[in-house]
Amino acid sequence: MTLQDLIDKVLGRQTASADTARQRLQLVLAHDRSDLNPELLEQMRKEILEVVSRYVEIDLSETDVSLETEDRVTALVANLPIRRTL
């Protein structure tokens, strides 16, 4: 975080549009590059959960399946917290 971000936050100002642009681009490119649309991603998320739930108990409220991209490499990142059974 920069000083500017902090001041903006304190004053409740909108973030600079370049930040918004960067975030939106990163998301849209992750989808473009993998040829996955949000709908397919959601379907995949459900199926992954289904499979994993057969083996362990997952905290459904905390799961996160998303695309991340860096250096032209896109990764599917699934974060599936396992519920403690004890």
Binding site: T2, L3, Q4, S17, L25, V28, D32, R33, D71, R72
Partner: protein, 270 residues
């Protein structure tokens, strides 16, 4: 194998500066002594002749050369002030169908026999026009502006260039507005290079002189020094030829107290 550098100048999105870049690089390279040809592959809507001031001198195109109704020398339009530079339109605006990747390869092979640089001005889009233009390219410059739509389209094109094995692919960032960048209302140079993961060959500022030079049909690099965009383009030509020329820093343009304040505001605090 020829040592000719055959470079595709492409962008995906239209109107971001492909033709302007082709014209200025062509002149710059020619001025430095390299024999250079600019091939207008955007022949449906051709503009390169206008930007170079050669619109009244085109008689033949690559089409007639391939059909053997004229010789290559007859179709090449030599630039008056810069005789090391020639223009060849790939086709005629009235005949939109003839060009295939094979035709492109055939014409480029002829050009590679006699030129050091072949610059191919690509049409916008990623459809057939792009694919034909790219068919004979060995390397590429991707032109983009610091705007979301242009960067997104550039990314698509980079993906296609990669699958065609075209390399190196380098980036030119056009229409940079240092003021907007420093107030963070425009994607920064780092943002764009990080997102696209390409080496930056150069950046060109937004510059009114680009329009003036277009009006005249005299690319900015035709005269010495001059405007920021003129310097940017001749630097890009230098780097293309392997010279080690430092990149301009948009932030350095804005000195004084306000710039210092801005810098302070951008220091990372945690």
């Amino acid at each position: 194998m020829s040592t000719t550098r055959t470079i595709l100048i492409c962008s995906g999105k239209g109107g971001v500066g492909k033709t302007t870049t082709t014209a200025n690089l062509g002149i710059s390279l020619a001025r430095s002594g390299a024999s250079t040809v600019v091939l207008d592959a955007d022949f449906g809507l051709r503009n390169l002749d206008l930007l170079l001031g050669l619109e009244n001198r085109i008689v033949y195109t690559a089409q007639e050369v391939l059909a053997e109704t004229c010789r290559l020398e007859q179709a090449l339009v030599k630039h008056k002030q810069e005789p090391n530079l020639s223009l060849l339109p790939a086709g005629n605006p009235r005949m939109l169908e003839w060009l295939t990747p094979k035709d492109m390869q055939a014409i480029v092979a002829l050009l590679e026999e006699r030129f050091d640089y072949v610059l191919i001005d690509c049409p916008a889009g990623i459809e057939d026009g792009f694919k034909n233009a790219a068919a004979a390219a060995r390397e590429a410059l991707v032109i983009t502006t610091p705007e979301v739509a242009a960067v997104r389209d550039a990314d698509r094109v980079i993906g296609l260039l990669n699958t065609q094995g075209i390399s190196p692919v380098q980036l030119v960032l056009n229409r940079v507005r240092p003021k907007m960048m420093s107030s963070q209302e425009m994607l920064s140079v780092d943002d764009v290079t990080d997102i696209l993961a390409l080496p930056l060959l150069g950046l060109v500022f937004e510059d009114e002189q680009v329009i003036v030079s277009t009006n005249r049909g005299e690319p900015l690099t035709l005269s010495d020094g001059g405007s920021p965009a003129a310097r940017a383009y001749s630097n890009i030509a230098g780097r293309l030829q392997g010279e080690d020329i430092p990149l301009m820093d948009p932030a350095k343009l804005r000195r004084g107290l306000r710039a210092k304040m801005r810098e302070l505001m951008q220091t990372k605090i945690f």
